[in-house]
């Protein structure tokens, strides 16, 4: 492949929960990359805060043996997305790159898609976004500022994909694995989030997807997500009974 043709890639991500430390760097990177409005206390109290990626925290065990478990949740870019068929104006659809696209200028704000999403990763702009004067020039010029009354969601940093494809085409070559990174995967200090092309069998993300630890969230819904997870390896977890027998036999 000499040039990066449109629609030849299938973008996906693998999140290694074993590596996630719950530092929230991905959340912050996403907020600043994608012009997400500031989540003030008022918005949190009304449960209307917007964050395209969030780190969910679960407590395990009783005091004093308490363990925190973290899992980053972002739009899973489902192939069988429940949000897509409910849109009356075709503002959300699946494109040939494997992305679940939200077209802001088509959206009329019915919020059906947010009700359909089992991961609650779609957010509605209840207010006009405002930033303080000190942040006036911090907005990313490659990302549309969403006005009041429309849905928004993780776009897999599509502006970075476009830039990467453009650069590759300019240099008359294909896309190199790892060249295009989302803001969250770039910011992750432990490289827990890996982004890449699933059609490229040699890419890091394809190899991780074939890992034994790989699993999908809510598998019974048959959503065919492009975002999959690697299960946590727990060193303190007791060995299951059958493997204990196996050891005793030896």
């Amino acid at each position: 492949m000499t040039t990066a043709e449109f629609g030849k890639q299938n973008w996906g991500m693998v999140v290694d929960i074993d590596k996630c430390t719950g530092c929230q760097a991905c959340v912050l990177a996403c907020q600043s990359e994608n012009n997400i409005p500031l989540n003030t206390q008022n918005r949190f109290e009304r449960a209307r805060a917007i964050s395209w990626i969030r780190v969910e925290r679960y407590w395990e065990g009783d005091f004093p043996d308490v363990h925190a478990r973290f899992i980053p949740i972002l739009c899973q870019q489902c192939e069988n997305a429940p949000c897509e068929p409910v849109c009356p104006v075709y503002a959300t659809y699946h494109n040939s790159e494997g992305l679940n696209i939200q077209v802001y200028n088509r959206c009329v704000g019915t919020r059906y898609c947010a009700n359909g999403c089992p991961f609650t990763v779609r957010f509605f702009n209840y207010w006009e976004p405002v930033w303080p004067d000190s942040l006036r020039n911090h907005l990313n010029p490659d990302v549309t500022v969403r006005s009041r009354g429309i849905m928004e969601k993780c776009s897999f940093c599509i502006q970075r994909i476009r830039r990467g494809v453009r650069t590759a085409n300019k240099e008359n070559r294909g896309i190199v694995d790892g060249e295009i990174q989302t803001a969250c995967s770039q910011a992750c200090p432990t490289s827990a989030l890996v982004f890449g092309d699933l059609n490229d069998k040699e890419s890091k993300v394809s190899k991780l997807k074939n890992d034994d630890r790989n699993y999908k969230l809510l598998p019974h819904l048959n959503l065919e997500q492009n975002v999959t997870y690697l299960a946590k390896v727990d060193p303190e977890k007791k060995i299951e009974s059958h493997s204990e027998e196996a050891i005793s036999h030896e």
């Binding site: 040939s96 790159e97 010029p141 476009r162």
Partner: protein, 233 residues
């Protein structure tokens, strides 16, 4: 009683004789006004609005920069002080709009690029040139950037990138539309496809409607992707 009714009916008949033509003329007038209004709306909807009543697709710049003198290769309309004909300089578009072949925006040059020539070249009496020199710090001690007004503005939800378009047009010269009176070689020869013949404009105006239909038509004709997320994200 009878005579009173008679006079009333005659007076009302007189009134009707005046009223009916008045209503008729008024009705036709109203239809004509509404028709003109809707025609205006429809032309503005499909293309550009008719250039009247402040709907001219042009902006007066803080310094009246003439693209004709700088970019045109033809003879200019006005003559020099001696009465000799003046030829346009024929500068390449990319001499000033330097980032157009590499980046998203065409870019407007810093005042320093203007004063490279205009610290020396040009009449001392010209108000526009003295404003350029003031902005560049050649005259006075208050150098300031010039607040150029934007003429071609895309809506906020559109992400247009110049670089791949110019690359494609250079590789496929058959797709270039309109002709320019400026430089025809290199990147400068392809600008006219969307911007018209800027080299012959005293004050730059938007000549193409640059609406989504035009973008999609061109993308479809040239095999470029027409996915929404190519431009809207």
């Amino acid at each position: 009683m009878n005579s009173k009714e008679k006079t009333e009916s005659t007076s009302s008949k007189k009134w009707m004789k005046i009223l009916i033509p008045l209503v008729g003329i008024g009705g036709f007038g109203a239809v004509a006004i509404f028709g003109a209004f809707f025609a205006f709306i429809i032309t503005a909807w499909w293309g550009q609005p008719i250039p009247i009543l402040g709907f001219e697709q042009t902006v007066e710049q803080p310094i009246s920069f003439p693209h004709t003198i700088h970019a045109s290769t033809n003879q200019l309309e006005h003559v020099s002080e001696n009465g000799d004909p003046i030829m346009g300089l024929g500068m390449d578009c990319t001499f000033c709009h330097r980032t157009v072949t590499k980046q998203k925006n065409a870019g407007v040059p810093p005042v320093a690029l203007c004063t490279t020539c205009h610290s020396v070249i040009g009449s001392k009496d010209s108000i526009a040139l003295s404003n350029v020199r003031k902005a560049g710090g050649i005259e006075g001690n208050d150098p300031q950037p010039i607040n150029w007004k934007r003429v071609h503005r895309m809506p906020d939800h559109v992400r247009f990138v110049h670089e791949p378009h110019i690359r494609y047009l250079l590789e496929n010269p058959d797709t270039i539309k309109n002709t320019t009176s400026g430089v025809k070689e290199g990147a400068a020869g392809v600008c006219s496809t969307c911007h018209g013949d800027v080299a012959s404009m005293e004050q730059v105006a938007q000549v193409e409607a640059l609406k989504m239909g035009q973008c999609v038509d061109c993308h479809r004709d040239n095999g470029a992707p027409t996915d929404c997320a190519v431009c809207h994200h």
